[in-house]
């Protein structure tokens, strides 16, 4: 096999996942048990779904630093509307997803119409979303949620192992994103825009519309992640999303999607999210304090970006 045709970008995250799993399986007792693996999957649903949206944005050569904060705002909107305004759960969920989609749309409009760098725009909306979440919730956790809001946290038994509905939803969303990005013209246009926006424009691809759609869709996905987060924790938490923000970007980059845009596979982001999840879970099993888990995430993202950068330099 020609060394250039080996898909290192896709094999890398798989190897990292196998290596991390092997390490924790050897050093802890319960890592490779059905319940623990199911738990890891449940723990990565929120980061995993945010990472789909983040992948879309990064493929267009952008970045969305606001993802975790927008997700937290969506959760507060859903829970407050359901609990305090007494809105039926489906409407409350829709309202929450609408708010996160609007945030995504705002990011997209500022990037395309005002032509601001995505990095700065989303750093701004990160802070705006955080402040709005705190103001709207009064920094208070929303409790006593109706059962419908936490339904995705429920589980069913599959081959003796409990599987959460949220896990199934996440896997379904990955399958959908994989299909659209790979099999449709719209998906290929996302790659073309991130790879060479000028060439895409010259062949008649509506570059601005592709970018706007990527940011707005990412926002909608953060809204779905809000629901997953609410279902997992059972409350509306105004301080949610703070670790998910960096973890989602880490997952995407670990998954082999290039920060320079136009290269990557969305399924890689799932592998990346699993790597992050396995580290968290394994370190917890080893009794390592959660501060070290944050430390490890920080190191992982830098290593992943360095690999991306170096492989890009090597191919030039």
């Amino acid at each position: 096999m020609n060394p250039r045709s080996v898909p290192w970008a896709q094999l890398g995250p798989l190897l990292a996942l196998l290596f991390a799993s092997g390490f924790f399986a050897a050093t802890t007792e319960h890592f490779f048990s059905g319940p623990n693996l199911s738990l890891i999957l449940q723990q990565v649903t929120v980061v995993g779904v945010i990472a789909i949206g983040q992948t879309l944005v990064i493929l267009t050569a952008g970045i969305d630093l606001s993802c975790g904060m927008v997700m937290a705002l969506g959760g507060i909107v859903m829970t407050k509307l359901a609990v305090e305004a007494g809105l039926p759960a489906p409407l409350a969920v829709l309202a929450g997803v609408a708010v996160t989609t609007l945030f995504g749309l705002a990011n997209g409009l500022l990037v395309t119409r005002v032509r601001l760098p995505a990095f700065i725009v989303t750093l701004g909306t990160y802070n705006i979303a955080f402040a709005v979440t705190q103001l709207y919730s009064g920094s208070q956790t929303v409790t006593d949620l109706p059962a419908a809001l936490t339904a995705l946290g429920n589980t069913f038994t599959l081959g003796g192992t409990e599987v959460a509905f949220g896990t199934v939803l996440m896997l379904g969303l990955y399958a959908l994103a994989w299909f659209v990005l790979r099999e449709t013209a719209a998906g290929r246009h996302v790659y073309a825009v991130g790879n060479n926006a000028e060439a895409a424009r010259l062949v008649g691809i509506p570059v601005q519309r592709v970018l706007l759609a990527a940011y707005a869709l990412a926002g909608a996905l953060y809204g779905i992640a809000s629901l997953l987060s609410v279902a997992r924790t059972g409350v509306g938490d105004p301080n949610a999303g703070q670790t998910e923000n960096l973890e989602a970007i880490t997952a995407v980059v670990l998954g082999g999607t290039s920060l320079f845009g136009g290269r990557g596979v969305v399924v890689g982001s799932l592998l990346g999210a699993l790597v992050v999840g396995v580290f968290r879970n394994g370190l917890t099993l080893m009794g390592v304090s959660s501060v070290y888990q944050v430390l490890v995430t920080g190191i992982l993202v830098i290593v992943a970006v360095a690999v991306d950068q170096l492989s890009r330099r090597a191919s030039q």
């Binding site: 290929r188 073309a192 060439a199 895409a200 010259l202 062949v203 136009g262 191919s315």
Partner: protein
């Protein structure tokens, strides 16, 4: 092309004017492209050749003057308009998305969808057909690239340019405009692209070749349009004209009225 019967005029412009503030980029420029020919457009910087080409490819609208395609007046409001009319333009350096495959690049922006439910409802691409058609086009134009599924970035610069030329030739029905297609290429690679340009012409398309490279122009052009001071200053026959005389016309050292009659095409 030395055919006895006069060739049909495919693309014609008369009296094009384009002003940018106080600067007049086009000052009543004329242009005539015949079927099945390679017309080189040469000119010093600021002679108005890129403005002329932009007007012909729909990238800008002239302030005055007329453009006719196949004898009918044409109003191109955008590059898309010109493309729909059958004029494909190959822009310098910007033509391909390196991470996408050859087949994807060939069909970028004009993807083929599958028939039936998969195409209409699921909007699935017909990857196999795009791959097969790409391979057929490449074979037709004798571009020696084995696999249509390799990313364009794995190709040499010359092969990349060949992909871009092949794309333009595949979708053009009348005219292919190429802006400096050999600018960044070495000797062998340039020869490969120039050969391909000839084959595009031999398939019946009219080619406009903008180039600074005089040896390349003289190697492939059937006629040479010399732009100067926003107008067409002469059309030369490369078989009868010395390269240094063409440069002299271009720079103004040789006034148009003193060009020997046999050099004019």
């Amino acid at each position: 092309m030395n055919t006895s019967r006069p060739a049909r005029v495919v693309l014609q412009a008369t009296g094009l004017v384009k002003r940018y503030g106080h600067v007049t980029a086009l000052d009543g420029a004329d242009f005539e492209l015949r079927s099945g020919e390679i017309l080189a457009v040469i000119g010093d910087n600021g002679a108005g050749k890129s403005t002329l080409v932009k007007a012909l490819s729909g990238a800008l609208r002239p302030d005055a003057g007329e453009i006719a395609l196949d004898g009918r007046r044409a109003h191109f409001r955008s590059p898309l308009d010109a493309r729909r009319a059958g004029i494909e333009t190959l822009h310098q350096d910007l033509a391909v998305a390196p991470a996408l495959t050859i087949a994807e690049n060939l069909y970028l922006g004009r993807e083929l969808r599958r028939a039936g439910f998969a195409g209409r409802v699921l909007r699935m691409l017909d990857k196999r057909r795009m791959r097969d058609e790409s391979a057929a086009r490449m074979a037709e134009l004798q571009v020696g690239i084995p696999s249509m599924t390799q990313p364009v970035e794995t190709l040499s610069g010359g092969q990349r340019q060949c992909v871009a030329v092949a794309r333009a030739a595949t979708f053009a029905t009348h005219v292919v405009i190429m802006d400096e297609p050999t600018a960044a290429l070495g000797v062998k690679e340039s020869a490969m692209v120039l050969d391909l340009i000839r084959r595009v012409r031999d398939r019946g398309l009219a080619v406009v070749l903008i180039s600074h490279n005089m040896p390349h122009v003289f190697e492939v052009a059937d006629r040479i349009h010399v732009a100067r001071l926003g107008r067409r200053c002469a059309v030369l026959n490369p078989k009868k004209t010395a390269m240094r005389d063409a440069v002299a016309v271009m720079t103004g050292a040789l006034p148009p009225e003193r060009i020997p009659a046999e050099c004019v095409a």
